[in-house]
Amino acid sequence: MTVDLNSGSDSDTRAIGRRLSGLLRAGDVVVLCGTLGAGKTAFVGGIADGLGIDEYVTSPSFVLMKKYTSGFIPLVHVDVYRVGSLGEFEDLDVYEESLSSVLVVEWGDAVAASLPGDHLKILIEITGETDRRVQLVPNGNWTKRPLEEMSE
């Protein structure tokens, strides 16, 4: 079941990420989609807060992959924005890193063929100056997870 949420600001988007973190377990894969400025990094910052990570989350666009280990579960934050091919993505060995972490892949739909079928896809759409639509789309075994908790 797809869950639709509205965000009126960056801090709203962050709060949605924080709420989602309560559903996340080690080994989970979250695919994050949205244009530049949609609030992807704020969303991941919220997930990090919720996982008890005390480091400041910044965009991994330049370094491709960042790992935060100060929380309850390690968070691996990947951005494939600068990646040119599936082979380059697989070279990052994200799979190995993700086995014991929560893996969030920005622009992950571009490398969907190299990601597990069991993942949660999140689409952040710009609907106004600060308004965003945040859509949570479960795939694979995520369809059996209690996503409806997110809309309460």
């Binding site: 599936l86 082979g87 799979y95």
Partner: protein, 239 residues
């Protein structure tokens, strides 16, 4: 002939030094993600134990896969770096060959398997011959179900070696002619044996031409135009 063997293609990393007749020093560690932290310390340790210097080496042999991507690259880049500094050749060896070589059987048809992630395996089959094994064909990537079908259609006695424990239990259920056995992972000492032949015949590629053997699908460019207006990110460094 002094040879350094670097094995980091699977969760079991190992280093060995051989003098052409025997293994004179070795070190081993099992950790899916620990290759980088192990390798240099282990090489130092082995040189120390053997009383050799890196400058004594005549060759390096390294496992180029298939196996864990990061592990393979850690091993291969270390081998290439040392080879460049020392001016020695690098002999590439395959993980499946190293596993099959140590399979303990005199007559069974050997299937070596390596877990290549995402529920798939790299598989190659071998026949035992006096003093070693002979490969039937090139390795293939397949699902556990496909492996089961292959084993079912094999009319002879079979021994499956390698990372059998990573397979679903049902893979071997009811297959009475099939036994599974050791080794689970390749070891550096086996690389020394596999490298001996090519080294004697002077048959090896230039170290800088070596690439990891992932056995994955041919690489596919990302069609960025489908995902964002501005298309692919331009690599200004090469412009």
């Amino acid at each position: 002939m002094k040879v350094l063997a670097i094995e980091t293609a699977t969760p079991a990393s190992s280093i060995a030094l051989g003098d052409g007749r025997a293994t004179v020093a070795s070190a081993k560690r099992v950790d899916r993600q620990g290759h980088g932290g192990f390798i240099v310390t282990a090489i130092d340790f082995c040189f120390d134990q053997a009383g050799w210097n890196p400058a004594d080496l005549d060759a390096i042999t390294v496992d180029v896969g298939p196996g864990l991507y990061t592990g393979i690259r850690v091993g291969l880049s270390t081998a290439q770096g040392m080879a460049a500094a020392l001016g020695v050749p690098v002999i590439p060896v395959r993980s499946l060959d190293a596993i099959a070589l140590r399979a303990a059987t005199g007559h069974r048809h050997i299937y070596a398997v390596v877990d290549v992630r995402r529920g798939e395996l790299a598989v190659a089959s071998y026949r035992p011959v006096p003093g070693g094994v002979v490969k039937d064909g090139p390795p293939e990537v397949m699902s556990p179900d496909h492996l089961r079908a292959m084993l079912e259609s094999d009319a002879g006695e079979v021994l499956v070696v390698g990372d059998v424990e990573s397979l679903p239990e049902a893979t071997f259920r009811g297959l009475h002619r099939v036994k599974s056995g050791r080794p689970r992972y390749p070891e550096a000492a086996a690389l020394l044996d596999l490298a001996a032949g090519p080294l004697q015949k002077d048959e090896f590629p230039s170290p800088e031409d070596l690439r990891p053997l992932y056995l994955r699908e041919p690489d596919v460019s990302i069609a960025w135009k489908q995902f964002r207006q501005e298309g692919p990110w331009e690599n200004t460094a090469s412009a």
